[in-house]
Symmetry: C2
Subunit: 344 residues, 2 copies
DNA sequence: ACGCTTCAGTGAAGCGGTTCAGTGATTTCT
DNA sequence: AGAAATCACTGAACCGCTTCACTGAAGCGT
């Protein structure tokens, strides 16, 4: 590889000091450089195809212009994460124009966060977006007092770090509201995950609130618990069917896939015999039979918002407030709204 | 943020020179350090929670221990890319143990590759995996003579850069072989994308080869062209149905989704009236009605292999040969194999 | 003609590591 | 016993860039 040219080469060619080259190339306004000199430097830089060395610059500036995305997720969930590309795109669409790069760290063993601690302590990055950070995570807390810029994707219960998340409660509520407005009175619920997961308990809470608002009774026997996977939806629905709900809110499209399978296996039809609403709007929700009514999660927005918050902290030392993003109820056929329209 | 301790701090605390600290911490074997001194240094480092600064180290060593994943993909394809998380995981499972980090660069505007050129010229990374690099891409070629370590994910026609890809030809062939072995003689083909895409033409070639091997005629009117999206599958299938194929090989599951919709809209049933095999084994292929027989692409392996090749180049100056990874035919119900078994 | 600004630019220190060449003190060899 | 080799370690240069403090020249007002 041909030796890359350094600032010294540019300085020599332009006949000025390295200092001047630096000032010109960085557009330092507080220093006056004559137009001719400026041009000479610019020309020299172009001629030598000069690109300042990132490490040297980071070292001198004590800033890397790189942010991290730390994924603390078990491999099987990582692989199945349909949102990740969108979130990455969302982050990148904010960081790239701002001149920041994105470093991705996959932390497989969540109990061994050495990996991302090094990322931070070794000063690879100026800030990080953490996904799937858990519990009171002592490492996280150990970092916080340092005021290292961090933003969470997903909430971490005991922490006061800024986060960005969707408004799970109101999203779930709007789904269940919709079912109620279609005339359903006996509505079941299958969660997306065990209740330890904040998103899971929030969605269940939304379900409860909707019932309350409409003076419908909340009954434990109409609630089942999923665990991210399709299979859990199948089992949950099988155990729920004997309760004879007329509609079910399934707090995850993947779990809904399994629920759908169980309904079909029982010889029932959606939405005629049982209405269903999912959650997430995974890409294939629209291609299911019937197309699944669901809650759309703004994945790109999550990434972009988290990135904006992070850059705010990094650049202006801001103290951004956490954000709950709005979701959207996507009405397709599984909820039976179309059916009603046809009949009407 | 409390000032981070530097190598000087450690040296002072241990009562040795910075040189010695560096030698101890890097386990330089060619230099003899007494066991006591070594321990004093280690203790001091621990006490100060010392982590060497990445930028300084990169600057001195002229190596960043970071590799790039450059995604030259239009946003809508990026978002829908179900493989990306797996590929990232595959890369990371190789790079992380080797002490390398992963920088992701999303290049939205493929005609403006300034972005990744800077990534390289500014020496952020020691090597890169390029996805979706196009054409003769002058920038790519401009980089190659520099011997900058590069590996391609997907092939780039006019280039002799090492790549990793799936063996599209033999994969497609095995799918069509399977249909033929089930007794089909009039088999249609819908490509995954326009033929400019190497993967697309390779899959079509595999289709042709299978026919040839079995002395079946190849007919243009049985071939249609998709363009990644579901809709294109719908349209392609609609225009193909009048040709009355008894089976169809669709070179993309997403496109197959649309094809399936068209078949259903025509009042036909898969596989009874029309057998179908897809390509990719996206997560939801298994949940379709009927579950889709398809070709599984080893996404994790793609990432891991590309990463291994890249590290080989970076670390040992190797000149790895390109790799074609094997795929697997996943037999479900859409091909009708189950049906036959039941009948038999 | 003198001091005071402003202009245009430079020298050198510093960022935090790595590494080459060397240096005393021991040990080994003959 | 003296030279050679080994041991255990250090000084200082260097990686490439930023930035503070400073300098010499020109412009300005009186």
């Amino acid at each position: 590889m041909a030796r890359k040219s350094s600032i010294t080469d540019v300085a020599k060619l332009a006949g000025v000091s390295r200092t001047t080259v630096s000032y010109v190339l960085n557009n330092v306004m507080s220093i006056h450089i004559s137009e001719q000199t400026r041009q000479r430097v610019l020309d020299a830089a172009r001629e030598l195809d000069y690109h300042p060395n990132a490490s040297a610059r980071s070292l001198a500036r004590k800033q890397t212009f790189t942010v991290g995305l730390v994924l603390c997720v078990s491999p099987d969930r990582l692989i199945a994460d349909a949102f990740l590309p969108s979130v990455i795109y969302g982050i990148s669409s904010v960081t790239t124009p701002a001149g920041f790069r994105l470093l991705i760290e996959v932390v497989e063993d969540v109990t061994q966060p050495d990996a991302y601690v090094r990322l931070i302590r070794e000063a690879h990055i100026d800030g990080a977006i953490l996904a799937g950070a858990r519990l009171g995570d002592q490492y996280l807390l150990g970092l916080h007092p340092d005021n290292f810029p961090l933003v969470l994707w997903d909430r971490v219960p005991g922490s006061d770090l800024p986060f960005v998340d969707v408004d799970n409660i109101s999203a779930a509520r709007s789904a269940v509201d919709h079912l109620i407005s279609l005339g359903h009175q006996r509505i079941g619920c299958i969660t997306n995950a065990p209740l330890e997961h904040p998103a899971s308990s929030a969605r269940l809470r939304g379900y409860q609130l909707a019932l309350e608002m409409h003076n419908l009774p909340y009954a434990d026997q109409l609630v089942r618990y999923g665990d991210f996977h399709e299979r859990s939806g199948y089992e949950a629905m099988n155990s729920l069917l004997p309760e004879r709900p007329s509609a079910v809110f399934v707090a995850s499209d993947v779990v809904a896939l399994g629920a759908l399978r169980a309904v079909r296996a029982a010889g029932l039809r959606v939405p005629r015999d049982l209405a269903m609403i999912g959650f997430d709007d995974i890409q294939f929700a629209q291609y299911l039979q019937p197309p699944l009514t669901t809650i759309r999660v703004p994945a790109h927005e999550i990434g972009a918002t988290a990135a904006r918050m992070l850059l705010d902290i990094i650049q202006t030392g801001g103290h951004p407030t956490s954000v709950l993003l709005d979701t959207e109820l996507i009405i397709r056929e599984s909820c039976g709204a179309q059916l009603r329209t046809e009949i009407a």
